[in-house]
């Protein structure tokens, strides 16, 4: 694999994690990384937990009984929300990567407004946020309202 150039990271994690003093894209980026990390950690836990099904009915039912409690469900909603944001924002990033929503390049003139964050990119970013919120609400309905109302 290609050698990655050594870059000193004096501020450590906060160097790329702290989005304040930057524009909207930076906030989207921080959220994308944090949600990606959450989903990756959940994924490895998910592989282990769902692996219990190979132990048979009793093993599966006991692990499901352990995990089906009011402490775990809000955490799962965080994972779902992370997934929705990460997926939707990932589509936006792919469009940006292909150069479709970032506008034309232009000469940098003070006060250096980034052309990449023009109307299209902003609109897509807000669309991502709105769709993520709608999906999180739907997930909340699925998790907390439907089971209670369905008599199950």
């Amino acid at each position: 694999m290609a050698k990655v150039r050594e870059v000193r990271n004096r501020r450590g994690l906060l160097g790329w994690l702290n989005p304040t003093k930057f524009n909207l894209e930076r906030w989207a980026y921080t959220l994308h990384r944090v949600t990606g990390f959450i989903v990756a950690v959940y994924f490895y836990m998910h592989v282990v937990v769902t692996g219990f099904r190979a132990g048979g009915r009793e093993v599966w039912e006991s692990i499901m009984a352990t995990l089906s409690n009011p402490l775990v469900h809000p955490l799962e909603l965080i994972v779902w929300g992370s997934l929705f944001y990460h997926g939707l924002n990932g589509i936006r990033l792919t469009l940006a990567e292909l150069g479709l929503i970032v506008g034309k390049p232009s000469r940098p003139i003070y006060p250096y407004k980034p052309t990449s964050l023009g109307k299209t990119q902003r609109a897509v970013l807000f669309l991502v946020m709105i769709m993520a919120v709608i999906l999180i609400i739907l997930a909340g309905v699925e998790m907390f309202i439907l089971p209670a109302g369905g008599g199950g």
């Binding site: 694999m1 990655v4 994924f43 792919t94």
Partner: protein, 119 residues
């Protein structure tokens, strides 16, 4: 592999995962006619799904796709955090972790498929 190839694979797996994840949720979501969040995950329903060879194949493809995408993402985070001099150690660690997840997950999926069809 070249860094740009790895990055391209990250984007392709990312787009695939949007699709795969929608299928994965539709398996049980009551909002699209499934059995629901709690009821859809009972052993009986799991077993019914596992009898379908397509689900079994889907799970293994899905597993491999997520593992690549997650580990490439984690690799970027770790290298940017710890610095390029840890790249080799990070690569080895993530490859081992990914292999473990794919092998264990595939083993479980195939075992459970065989259990469900009653072999």
């Amino acid at each position: 592999m070249r860094e740009s190839t790895l990055w391209l694979l990250h984007i392709i797996t990312g787009l695939l995962l949007v699709l795969f994840f929608a299928v994965h949720l539709a398996e049980f979501s009551a909002l699209v006619g499934g059995a629901g969040y709690e009821e859809g995950l009972t052993y009986t329903l799991l077993s019914e799904r596992a009898q379908n060879i397509l689900y079994t194949v889907f799970y293994i493809v899905f597993l491999a796709t997520v593992t690549y995408h997650a580990n490439y993402g984690l690799r970027v985070l770790l290298i940017e955090w710890l610095g390029g001099r840890w790249e080799k150690a990070i690569n080895i660690l993530l490859i081992l972790l990914g292999l473990a997840a794919v092998l264990y997950g595939s083993y479980v999926t195939i075992t459970f498929h065989l259990m469900s069809v009653g072999v």
